[in-house]
């Protein structure tokens, strides 16, 4: 059984690609056969975050246009045996993706016995984003605790409930999970940032993970190493927890309490 998971958000810059990369690595680390696909035609970045940008020969659009086989275009990860990356095209126009083409590639991945296909959606609600979600079984909606991100995510939830194959076939839509990123417990405690329950209540879906705002995310992307592989960082550990929950394990949320400052730090600042 292949499960197709879309990582989406509506708004740009909230951490979709970071999340796609880390979820793909996390699932592959558990022995699952995983393909992660970049749907952002024209603005590919997943290859950089995965650290395989220099090994891209063929891309997603080449496969759809029959210019190469899927096997040729899948880039095998150097760190984990069972992980493959399919890069987006950098040059072609947005119409390069078609519903039939995407379906054909996903069907071939099913036949090749992949356990998971992670679809990294572009921002917005245009064609690329629509196709990334269309064939999904589950959706990870990446949200920053910030007004425009939450509003855009609600729009995406509406589309997931109506503009997907599962919805059209009457299979009850796509299973939706909320992943909060750039969460800053200190600011939440100060009343400067919406808390987990605020966002959860507005959007009305269950939380699969909370990723704290962390310097580890930038250093990981600098190095082309998905942050989940940085087991020292809080963000990496939080992603590992999210992967565990995705696989059905129960894990309490971590890194959601503000660090208590000592009396001296409080008096003299930090």
């Amino acid at each position: 059984m292949t499960e197709t998971i879309v990582v989406t958000s509506g708004k740009g810059g909230v951490g979709k690609t970071t999340t796609s990369a880390s979820l793909a690595v996390g699932l592959a680390q558990r022995g699952k056969k995983v393909a992660v696909i970049d749907f952002d035609v024209g603005l590919r970045n997943l290859d950089l975050i995965m650290g395989c940008e220099r090994r891209v020969v063929y891309d997603f659009v080449n496969v759809i246009h029959d210019e190469c086989t899927l096997k040729q275009a899948l880039i095998k990860d150097k760190r984990i045996e069972t992980l493959y990356v399919l890069a987006a095209s950098q040059t072609r126009d947005k119409d390069a993706l078609s519903k039939e083409g995407v379906e054909r590639v996903l069907d071939e991945l099913v036949k090749s016995n992949f356990d998971y296909v992670i679809c990294d959606s572009p921002a917005g609600i245009e064609k690329g984003a629509a196709l990334a979600m269309y064939f999904a079984d589950r959706a990870i909606v990446v949200v920053n605790p910030e007004v425009s991100s939450v509003r855009d995510s609600d729009r995406i939830l509406g589309l997931l409930a109506s503009k997907t194959r599962r919805a059209e076939l009457g299979k009850g839509g796509v299973e939706q999970h909320l992943l909060l990123t750039r969460y800053n417990p200190g600011r939440v405690a100060n009343g400067d940032m919406m808390g987990i329950n605020d966002v959860k209540e507005i959007l009305g879906i269950e939380v699969i993970g909370v990723i704290p705002e962390s310097p580890g995310v930038l250093t990981a992307s600098n190095a082309g190493v998905p942050v989940i592989l940085d087991t020292e960082s809080d963000a990496g550990q939080a992603y590992a927890d999210a992967v565990a929950r995705l696989c059905g394990e129960q894990r309490p949320l971590r890194f959601i309490q503000a660090q208590k400052k000592g009396l001296l730090a409080r008096l003299f600042g930090s």
Binding site: V150, V188, G191, D198, F268, G269
Partner: protein, 99 residues
């Protein structure tokens, strides 16, 4: 600096403000999303036609589309002015006894 911050009065809690604003806008957008684009125009034209006969308030027309099972139901309600409504009620009451 820390001491000054501590002594200064706390600013307004903006997270609560954000939550309240989002609750309202999200509820509003959920109600309008998925509705056909022609609804506002339909509403305006219907209002024009009705006003040829009855002088109703511009806000008196309510249009909803609801999904009931496999079909969509267009629901239209027009609130008539006070006086007319009383007259209509009296008219409706009279023949009711005969049926």
């Amino acid at each position: 600096m820390g001491l000054l911050d501590f002594l200064r009065s706390r600013p307004k809690n903006t997270a609560t403000l954000a939550t309240e604003r989002l609750r309202i806008i999200v509820a509003q957008e959920r109600a309008t999303n998925g509705r056909p684009d022609y609804l506002p125009l339909l509403r305006r034209e219907l209002l024009e036609v009705i006003r040829k006969y009855v002088n109703v308030d511009p806000d008196a027309i309510d249009i909803h589309i609801q999904r009931e099972g496999t079909s969509d139901v267009l629901e239209l309600s027009v609130a008539l002015p006070e006086k007319l409504r009383a007259a209509a009620a009296a008219k409706a009451a009279a023949p009711a006894g005969e049926n």
